[in-house]
């Protein structure tokens, strides 16, 4: 290649025509480089904000460090992992993570699917009105939402206890956030309530892309509306359903985080905590970033496997009408 460049700048020999000069933007090197340059901004951003911290987390998982600038990181091998697995609250947090993940599915799939299908049949004005109504909780700030629900569920001043007492359903007020049998259900309920709107909008969007002729054909064949829902709507919406399933499973722990932090801080006695909240506590309350990173690493692997499995399920079951 260096010869080519030299030739380019060599003085033309007498009696010979000047060699054809290639513009730089047509050179082979440039053509090879070009796609990577297009990718560079995205790769750089991902590298700096995703992969560097990820690798750093793996590194920290084997160290003991309080995150205070200037202090030394001490290599401790697999100590953080063994400490983590002996920690009772961590084991409980895993159970709760599964509880929240499974418990959110009705709120992210079943109820929104029904709401989307029901509102789809309404006229445009009503449809928009209802969908806006379902969507509003989604755009409210978690802190203010928590404050409102906290007041509603207040043991003595709250309207929920007041109504239950008036209706004679309970005899004693329930302290929802300090009763271990209630706390995580309330967290689940609030997270779910906030989720419904988002899923409903996604399903509604998917519904509009279904070709109406299928329904006409089905009704000519004598299919009832339930049958149409089951045999036409559900299969044609399968990509979106699987997409929402993936979202719900992978993000349920993150979505519950804010409510756990604000309403119960994981209590009473760790009964409403989840894995994300424990990781946060290890790092920022106990200032033990090593244990937190070890937990993150375990969950990187666990959620990685789940994500791949969901990908496979999606490939197998999603039906595309194109």
């Amino acid at each position: 290649m260096s010869k080519t460049i030299e030739n380019l700048y060599a003085p033309p020999l007498a009696g010979k025509s000047e060699p054809l000069r290639q513009p730089w933007h047509q050179s082979k090197l440039w053509r090879r480089l070009k796609p990577y340059l297009y990718l560079l901004p995205a790769v750089a951003l991902l590298g700096i904000w995703m992969y560097r911290p990820l690798l750093y987390t793996f590194y920290l998982a084997f160290h003991k460090w309080s995150m205070v600038p200037g202090t030394a990181k001490v290599f401790v091998g697999f100590d953080n992992f063994s400490r983590l697995l002996q920690n009772k609250s961590f084991v409980e947090a895993i159970g709760n993570t599964v509880f929240y993940t499974v418990g959110l599915l009705p709120f992210s799939i079943v109820i929104p699917l029904i709401l989307a299908v029901v509102t789809d049949k309404m006229n445009d004005r009503m449809k928009n009105f209802y969908r806006a109504l379902f969507f509003i909780p989604m755009i409210l700030a978690p802190v203010s939402v928590s404050a409102i629900w906290r007041w509603l569920f207040h043991p003595s001043n709250g309207v929920v206890n007041h109504l239950l007492l008036k209706l004679g359903l309970i005899e004693e007020q329930i302290a929802f956030f300090s009763d271990a049998s209630w706390a995580r259900w309330i967290i689940l309920f609030i997270t779910g309530w906030k989720m419904i709107g988002f899923s409903t909008i996604m399903f509604a969007a998917a519904l509009t892309s279904i070709n109406r002729e299928y329904y006409e054909a089905a009704s000519i064949d004598g299919a009832s509306s339930f049958r149409q829902f089951l045999n036409v709507t559900v299969p044609l919406m399968s990509p979106m359903i699987l997409f929402m399933l993936t979202m719900s499973i992978l993000f349920s722990s993150q979505w519950t985080f804010a409510y756990i932090d604000i309403l119960t801080t994981g209590g009473p006695y760790g009964s409403s905590t989840n894995i994300y909240y424990e990781m946060y506590r290890f790092a920022f309350s106990n200032l033990n970033v090593g244990v937190s990173s070890a937990a993150a690493m375990l969950f990187f692997l666990a959620f990685g496997v789940i994500a791949l499995a969901l990908n496979a399920v999606s490939r197998k079951f999603a039906f595309y009408d194109n």
Binding site: P155, F177, F303
Partner: protein, 439 residues
């Protein structure tokens, strides 16, 4: 649609797992020496003050006044500007220190002071302020109070806002139940009796001590002759007979209709709304509770921490110390000016009268220029000043595992009191777990 969904699923799978990651920061640490630099009023030194009192509505105005008055007077004259930072969860200073921000003074709770000393670079007062300045300033603060923030003989925190437990009493509910608020219950048996009477006559809860209160619990155990953390801090011992008996008494109140259920925040709200007869908490809530009683049209009374039988009760202190981490002689000087002001006569006058904590300079209570009038108008303070003679320090949990240990203790108490499980078993398990961590 197909490509969108497929692409998004793959992206999601990747991004979710990557999301689980942390990041860190690096900066240089610097050591400080016990000398005070020169301050320049024309070019003031800025210091940060992380305080949880700024984050609570009942304490905020008082704390704001304290900071503002310093900035307007001593700060302006000497060249120091204090920026108050509200630290709601008492986690912000940790996160900011980790992020390499300047965190100079922290209103720090007692229980995790040792942990912060080891991991967050807090300095001993003797190492950053000249001894003669310290000796001069600490005159007038009771020696007991000065002991509270000492670890291994060095002062890592100067007692700042400070209170003992008090039983706030709603006079109206007491009278409706045929009880005399001027003559409040003294023992736990009397508390139960009064609580059940209030519940029966008024339909409202008679008594509340939140299982998650975090510090009064220790006073209960000590009052019954138990021990929480051994003197040499080598083991915990709260699951001995006296400790179990104290917690079982509390459990009995909780499960037999004599105690309101709820978190500490919920109980304070319930009391302030006039729906709770007695509420055990810190005097720091005094100003808020007093306002609520005036707004609600009922009179506020008080009583000391109840005792078991004829054994005098042993309250522990709540509140905070000022922990410092200046990193240059100028910062030393600036921080020292601030500390002198807020723990001086004027500082404690504001802290007690505007926020509700106790004056650590107890002479102020008899000083006509200090708090004499205030204490006369607010007789509840006499209860707390009287309790100071029996006070014991709240446990400063040992070393590296302080936060984990505190969590185990705290969760065990909540579980022992509020769940149906056997209190002795729960406490014993927690004790073994903590001793395993310490040793």
């Amino acid at each position: 649609m197909k490509r969108f969904v497929k692409g998004t699923v793959t992206l999601l799978s990747l991004s979710t797992v990557v999301w689980l990651s942390g990041c860190g920061a690096a900066a240089n640490s610097s050591s400080a020496s016990a000398e005070l630099g020169t301050l320049d009023p024309a070019n003031p030194t800025k210091i940060t003050f992380y305080t949880y009192s700024l984050a609570y509505p009942t304490m905020k105005p008082g704390m704001e006044q304290l900071i503002k008055e310093f900035n307007d007077t001593v700060g302006k004259e000497k060249g120091v500007i204090v920026e108050g930072i509200a630290d709601t969860t008492m986690q912000q200073y940790k996160a900011d220190i980790s992020a390499g921000k300047e965190v100079d003074v922290v209103q720090h709770t007692f229980s995790t002071l040792d942990s912060s000393r080891l991991s967050l670079g807090f300095q001993a007062y003797e190492d950053v302020f000249p001894q003669e300045e310290l000796d001069e300033h600490l005159k007038g603060i009771s020696p007991n109070a000065l002991e509270l923030g000492k670890i291994d003989g060095k002062m890592y925190g100067l007692a700042f806002t400070f209170s003992t437990p008090i039983v706030f009493i709603n006079g109206k509910l007491f009278e409706e139940a045929g009880l005399d608020p001027e003559n409040p219950p003294k023992t736990w048996d009397e508390i139960k009796e009064a609580s059940l009477a209030i519940k029966e006559k008024t339909g409202k809860d008679g008594f509340g001590l939140a299982p998650n209160n975090g510090w009064i619990t220790e006073g209960l155990i000590l009052s019954n002759g138990g021990e929480v953390l051994a003197k040499d801090r080598s083991k915990v011992n709260f699951a001995n007979e006296a400790g179990i008996e104290a917690i079982s008494m509390w459990k009995d109140l909780y499960h037999n209709g004599a105690s309101a259920a709820g978190t500490d925040t919920e109980l304070s709200e319930q009391f302030m709304a006039g729906n709770l007869g007695m509420y055990v908490s810190s005097t720091s809530l005094h100003s808020g509770v007093k306002q609520a009683s005036e707004a609600g049209g009922w009179k506020l009374y008080g009583a000391g921490l109840p005792q078991f039988g004829d054994k005098p009760s042993v309250p522990v202190n709540s509140g905070s110390v000022l922990a410092v981490r200046p990193d240059s002689p100028e910062k030393n000087a600036a921080v020292w000016e601030f500390i002198k002001f807020v723990t001086g006569d004027r500082g404690y006058t504001i802290i007690t009268s505007q926020i509700g904590y106790l004056p650590l300079r107890t002479a102020l209570a008899d000083d006509p220029n200090g708090l004499k009038d205030f204490v006369e108008q607010n007789p509840l303070y006499k209860i707390n000043l009287e309790q100071l003679s029996r006070i014991q320090p709240v446990a400063i949990w040992p070393g590296d595992n302080a936060t984990e240990i505190f969590t185990v203790f705290y969760d065990a108490i909540v579980k022992a009191v509020s769940s149906d499980e056997d209190a002795a078993t729960v406490l014993k398990q927690a004790e073994d777990e903590i001793n395993g961590m310490i040793q």
